[in-house]
Subunit: 317 residues, 2 copies
Amino acid sequence: MPSVDNFEIRETPVRNLEDGEVLRKTVYLSLDPYIRRLLSTEESRWSPMPLNATVGGDTVSRIVASRHSDFSEGEYVLCGDGWQEYGISDGGGLNKIDPDLNPKSLAIGAMGMPGRTAYGALLDIGQPKPGETVVVSAAAGAIGSLAGQIAKIKGCRVVGIVGSDEKCQVVTKELGFDACVNYKTAKLSAALKEVCPEGIDVYYDNVAGTVLEAVLDNIRGGARIALVGLISQYNANGRPAGPNLEPLLANAATIKGYHGVPSKTLENFQHDMGKWIAEGKIKVLEHVVTGLENTPKAFIGLFTGENIGKLLVHIPD
Amino acid sequence: MPSVDNFEIRETPVRNLEDGEVLRKTVYLSLDPYIRRLLSTEESRWSPMPLNATVGGDTVSRIVASRHSDFSEGEYVLCGDGWQEYGISDGGGLNKIDPDLNPKSLAIGAMGMPGRTAYGALLDIGQPKPGETVVVSAAAGAIGSLAGQIAKIKGCRVVGIVGSDEKCQVVTKELGFDACVNYKTAKLSAALKEVCPEGIDVYYDNVAGTVLEAVLDNIRGGARIALVGLISQYNANGRPAGPNLEPLLANAATIKGYHGVPSKTLENFQHDMGKWIAEGKIKVLEHVVTGLENTPKAFIGLFTGENIGKLLVHIPD
């Protein structure tokens, strides 16, 4: 588990712009669990971030000065510069955000990576059919909260797994899930059996580990499991064991890792998600922390269950 | 691990036939690893066999007396009566074997369940493409030896995993695999990296456990893993942990359990397998033990690596 001592804030002067450059200021910084996996020297398929470098991550930024013909002061851009307040760019790595998008934070939330991941992995791997039972872990998180709501829109019965009773309330009362289980207080396998008496058809997994094992106890024939995150083990030393896979055999079930974006699945993502949010069919939950200096603490909170919804750091002017 | 003391041979008289019944005699008894899973009181998705009952299993049997109009003395039938020499049936559960099939043992081998499992799981889940690298565990076993040869026919580079150097020789020299690794003497993950430098596209898994984990270290993007057997853990107490699933994420890889027979995939099974055997493209390896009394010892040998190819008990007249 990281601690705030592992991070350090450094102030350096912002140099003057040259021709063809812009100065951007971070307005919202996205904090996502997968970043933890990169802050590690453990052998991994992901390239670790170098020590003493700026921690990476997506931001919503505003152009505050421009000597670049494509960018004007006041425009908003999506950027991957990570945990810093200002950055200079020649335009590379900046993607303009639709001026009509409101709030702009949606660009790194429901309309951005978390939304695409929720939509893409659920529809591509989960393939939920009306009437099926869909279980979502980290159901109050940025991705899980969206995946569950999309499954509801697709006509499924949706059950969340979360780590607090408060989150259970949010997931069932505000997001419209049919049921929710607090894995910290319930015997998860038995609790799932109770709320999913006919078994689980689709599991949207953000956490892996023992939660996945409890779900496997309760899958139905032909179940599809989208393995999207491994939050339960991002802070582990070495590589923890996985779940016993026997239930896959008996149920001809599938586990598939989600990595990247199958473009065909996402053809309609912007349209669908925009419409669902506009119609109120999808509620977007944001957990906003203010001030760059609070970023490390907020990031650690991702692994101790502090946030409900998308965790953002807002850096005021 | 079972021992021969766990089994007992009982002799009971064979009663006279009534009208509409046949008496069958077991000629070949099929011994398969999955039967071990049924000889257990561990909670499982499979129904355990009752204590003190006859152990189940497929047989090739000959009709030795008939008072049933559909069956004649001398005909061969496929039957699921298990570990016994004679059985009486009203015809239910008996399936006639093609009189032209030679040898008749193929009905419980390459042309029967093991063949269908090799063919069905490889083609349905593995979806091997020419030039891809396919790894097969328990590659000298009844199913693995067939799965690997089918993958060769499909134009793949095929690597076996086995438990002895003798099996390595058989798999590469007799069955035409491109390479083979002895997991008992090699450091498996590193050895696979050496023989599959570009990674593994398809894994046909009969064993699960640490072998699966070593394969996961070496999968390529989009890899497909057919989970067909769990030999490594059929004798375990409780439910052992599974492999760490992180490589699935990084590679958008799939693990799917094989259970039963997707009929579309098997449309051409009888035709294809019969042709491949006739043309010598598939070599059928059989390991024949003689005498019902040797069945328990032979069965235990499945888990200590005694057999090369399909393990059969032949009961002479």
